[in-house]
Amino acid sequence: MSVVVGTRDSACVPEAMRAWGPRVGRDKRSVSLCCALATSGRTLSNLRDNGRVAVIFCLPTNYKTIQLKGRFLGTARPNGQDLAAVERHRDSFTASATGVGVDRRFMEGLWQKELVESPVMLKIRFVAEQVFDQTPGPDAGARL
């Protein structure tokens, strides 16, 4: 599954970045994600400025995609469960992508760039307020 976080600054200029290891909170509404700290400067600044966030989750095997839109809750250092979720996500994303012909070296390269070269991760928490079907096609954007 590919996960991308979208935010915007005070002038409504958007910023996108990849995220890893999504986890749903016990309240079933809050979600946490891990991002590479070194490359998340603008995203963090945007979240602290206005708290608006959109996150897409897409399966490479069939392009089924959902988008969560909500409000930023805060950041934290990832704990052991968060880092385990990141590893599971890495492995399942690699397996599903290579299953539809994506070169394993590409996936390993992506992982290397995102997580090995930027080893410090940051956990971002947000509350999901709206859920959308974002699967490509005429209904993309329909609220679920």
Binding site: V4, C12, A16, Q67, V100, K113, Q134, T135, P138, D139
Partner: protein, 450 residues
């Protein structure tokens, strides 16, 4: 007018990220300040400071772009896995012109192949200014520059073409040269039929079985659309294109709009094609044929490859056209029977209804090439005649050939290659310009059937 912004990373150096091998993500923002992220099917580089995005559906991204022109596209390099952010500003939507037409042909070709012609409609092309292009990671390495100097290969290709005097050997030489010079081991050439309704494969390289004789309707599928529009169609990741098309197909089915859907057309050629480049062979805007290159690796044919192979294809088309000019009087070729004449015999059946030919009940060919072969076999069995000329065939009213003389040669190539592939004891040999030699090494019994 302001000078274009100097980008942190020039677009030209990351062109491979815009090839559709790995999907891009676009992030837009509404006037009220709510961001929206979604995947993008096509980002096309127009020049050093502009890109084009396809506009097919009225969705949230579209609404946001019209409210707030600032968007960002997140790209990934399929070669280095490096990521880049393009900070963009929407300028306008074009519904005609070169960018629109180029994107439309590509979209229509995929739509036709996937049975989605009524669904994938290009409404417009959004033109965006690139304000900056920057790497996501600070320690990024520049993308490897793609080879742009193909002059020695083109020189050798054109030289090899110039040495060929007949269409059959020209095609064989061209496909072999595409393999040895340009690293394209899987290729085939199709010719349009007399009615201009279908394409039939006349030559191939790197396929087993050869596929010679297989047909594609003009206007259908990627090959048919490329032929109909006289436009190149290039795809860099067919699996991704088909997964995307099937996702949209499922959405249409869920809406109960199955009537919009057509059947998905199987792609001819390699069973695991990922990259494909289709180049119409045009002379003075007249379609001589279609050259198709396939490869099992995603991203095999990039924009540079298309430009280079387009030059090779144009040269091949011109060479084909020159060869098809009326033949000058040439020497008579001495005919002799080659190979041992077998004691075995075979039965050749001709069905008049569709001019199909069966040898010992195995199908060989139908249509005009079938009619042609039957005429030659009747002469051979009746009088022992083995030598024929193109001219007499053209003038033979009994053959009911369409009044397009260029196509006789291509039909003969198809017939010759089908015989080479499917018959051990019969060959049609090119015996000098405008002459044919039928070689038969077995006693034949002919049966003419309704």
């Amino acid at each position: 007018m302001n000078a274009p912004a100097r980008l942190t990373v020039p677009l030209e150096s990351i062109e491979i990220c815009l090839e559709g091998i790995v999907p891009a993500t676009i992030c837009s923002c509404s006037r009220e300040g709510m961001p929206n992220a979604t995947f993008l099917s096509v980002v096309q580089r127009l020049d050093e400071n502009h890109v084009a995005l396809s506009f097919q559906f009225f969705n949230k991204t579209r609404a946001n772009i019209l409210e707030n022109p600032r968007v960002q596209v997140l790209l990934v390099s399929p070669e280095t896995s490096e990521q880049y952010r393009l900070d963009l500003r929407y300028l306008r939507t074009e519904t005609e012109g070169p960018s629109f037409e180029r994107m439309k042909v590509r979209l229509d070709a995929v739509a036709s192949q996937s049975g989605m012609s009524n669904v994938f409609k290009l409404r417009g092309v959004d033109i965006l200014e690139v304000l900056d292009s920057r790497p996501v990671s600070s320690g990024f390495r520049a993308e490897a520059a793609h080879k742009a100097d193909y002059l020695p290969e083109l020189d050798s290709f054109t030289e090899r073409m110039s040495r060929r005097g007949d269409l059959d050997s020209l095609l064989s030489a061209a496909l072999e040269a595409l393999s040895s010079l340009f690293g394209c081991p899987h290729s085939f050439v199709l010719f349009p039929d007399e009615e201009g309704k279908r394409l039939y494969t006349a030559a191939s390289h790197g396929f087993a079985p050869s596929g010679v004789g297989s047909e594609v309707p003009i206007g259908e599928g990627m090959l048919g659309v490329a032929a109909e529009r006289h436009a190149a169609v290039r795809t860099t990741n067919l699996t991704r294109e088909m997964i995307l098309a099937r996702a949209v197909r499922s959405a249409i089915e869920r809406r109960g709009e199955q009537t919009l859907l057509e059947r998905e057309i199987p792609l001819p050629g390699l069973p695991n094609t990922q990259s494909q480049l289709i180049l119409p062979l045009l002379v003075r805007d007249s379609l001589q044929g279609v050259l198709c290159l396939q490869d099992p690796t995603p991203g095999r044919f990039l924009a540079t490859d298309e430009r280079v192979l387009q030059i090779a294809a144009r040269h091949l088309a011109a060479a084909m056209s020159n060869i098809r000019l009326p033949a000058s009087p040439s020497r008579t070729v001495a005919l002799r029977r080659k190979g041992a004449f077998s004691k075995r015999s075979s039965v050749v059946k001709h069905y008049k209804s569709d001019d199909s030919i069966f040898i010992d009940d195995a199908y060989l060919i139908k249509g005009i090439p079938g009619r042609l072969l039957w005429k030659l076999l009747e002469a051979f069995v009746g009088t022992g005649r083995m030598a024929f000329t193109n001219k007499e065939i053209r003038l033979d009213a009994g053959l009911r050939l369409p009044d397009i003389k260029d196509n006789l040669e291509t039909r003969l190539i198809l017939l010759r290659r089908r015989l080479d592939e499917r018959c051990q004891f019969m060959r049609l040999v090119h015996a000098g310009r405008g002459q044919l030699h039928l070689e038969v090494r077995r006693k034949l019994t002919l049966e003419d059937l309704p």
